[in-house]
């Protein structure tokens, strides 16, 4: 795993997502599952039950792919990176609206964008024969 950037990144980012998902449940006790106003994680990131479940699923997918093999890690990093990028753009429109079922806020959006860029770029840039990184 330490020889593949995609596997290493998938394990690290996936681990963070799983941790966020688990910790999220400690602050979303009183909020509804799809509530637009959720609990605050680390006093910065707003989450609700649905958001926590998504974090757990995304994290588990990244970690499992990282533990599996290089090609799987690369595919999952690229795919979820792109999905997070779309979520980041959607978040710009959803914040403050009644359709904000993930209880997104600005800090969470920044985190989604950051994770999206790193996952996507490592996904397309590393572990391929073309780029030579960890070929």
């Amino acid at each position: 795993m330490t020889r593949s950037p995609n596997r290493m990144l998938g394990a690290i980012v996936g681990g963070f997502f799983v941790l966020f998902g688990l910790l999220g449940f400690t602050v979303t006790g009183g909020a509804g599952f799809f509530a637009t106003e959720g609990g605050m994680l680390a006093s910065m990131f707003q989450v609700n039950g649905f958001h926590n479940v998504i974090h757990l699923v995304v994290g588990a997918a990244l970690v499992l792919a990282a533990l599996s093999n290089r090609a799987a890690a690369r595919a999952v990093n690229s795919g979820l990176g792109f999905a997070l990028l779309l979520l980041g753009f959607a978040g710009l429109l959803l914040i403050g609206s009644e359709f904000n079922v993930l209880a997104l806020n600005a800090a969470g959006n920044v985190l989604h964008f950051a994770a999206a860029v790193v996952l996507l770029l490592v996904g397309i840039g590393a572990d391929s024969r073309v780029t030579g990184v960890s070929a």
């Binding site: 020889r3 914040i95 790193v118 780029t131």
Partner: protein, 199 residues
């Protein structure tokens, strides 16, 4: 060229592209159209560079990296010589200067690589370790984001952008915030129509 250097060049190109596209807003049409094309090309080239082992179109990229810098200098001179404040205002030093830094980095690295290849002193780049590559990629992303963000904020588009998560109808762009100095009462009166209570 090592994968890490290639990644940093790609990041710099993406940053330059974003700044050039943002500069289109508020620029004269004759400057805006080339800027839009240049920005899209730089952004696309940066993304392509991430996915390739060697930098695509390296010689052309070197020229494209230097050309806007020379053009900026010429336009600044022209704005000063011909006393054209409108043109001068669209050549703000913050976004153009930061884009120039990125361009110099891209052109300089490409030129160095080109010279080493020509002289045969270019050592075969070994693939970096996964950890080193990830750290370098993160550092590059943070550095480009740290420079690109103030550059975008200083553009006309950035000045009129609303703070994240605080979108509301009463937002007043920084440039339009009324100040005590220089209030033109004549202009204010012009919009205070009799018996008009506002929108």
């Amino acid at each position: 060229m090592s994968a890490i250097t290639r990644t940093w060049i790609a990041f710099a190109a993406v940053g330059t592209g974003l700044i050039h596209v943002a500069l289109v807003i508020g620029s004269p049409l004759a400057l805006g159209i080339p800027l839009a094309i240049l920005g899209v090309v730089e952004f696309g080239w940066g993304i392509l560079a991430f996915t390739r082992d060697t930098l695509p179109f390296a010689r052309i990229a070197m020229v494209v990296a230097v050309a806007p810098l020379v053009t900026w200098g010429l336009l600044l001179t022209a704005a000063s010589v011909f006393q054209n404040p409108a043109l001068g205002a669209s050549l703000d030093v913050v976004p153009w200067g930061i884009a120039a830094l990125f361009q110099l980095f891209v052109a300089g690295t490409l030129a160095l690589h080109s010279r080493r290849t020509r002289e045969g002193t270019n050592a075969t780049a070994s693939a970096p370790s996964a950890g080193r590559y990830l750290i370098a990629l993160t550092v590059g992303a943070l550095a480009v984001a740290a420079l690109t963000t103030p550059a975008l904020a200083a553009t006309e588009a950035g000045i009129y952008a609303q703070p994240h998560g605080e979108h509301d109808g009463s937002f007043t762009p920084q440039r339009d915030v009324p100040t005590d100095e220089g209030t033109d009462e004549g202009v204010d009166d012009m919009f205070n129509l009799p018996n008009h209570e506002g929108h």
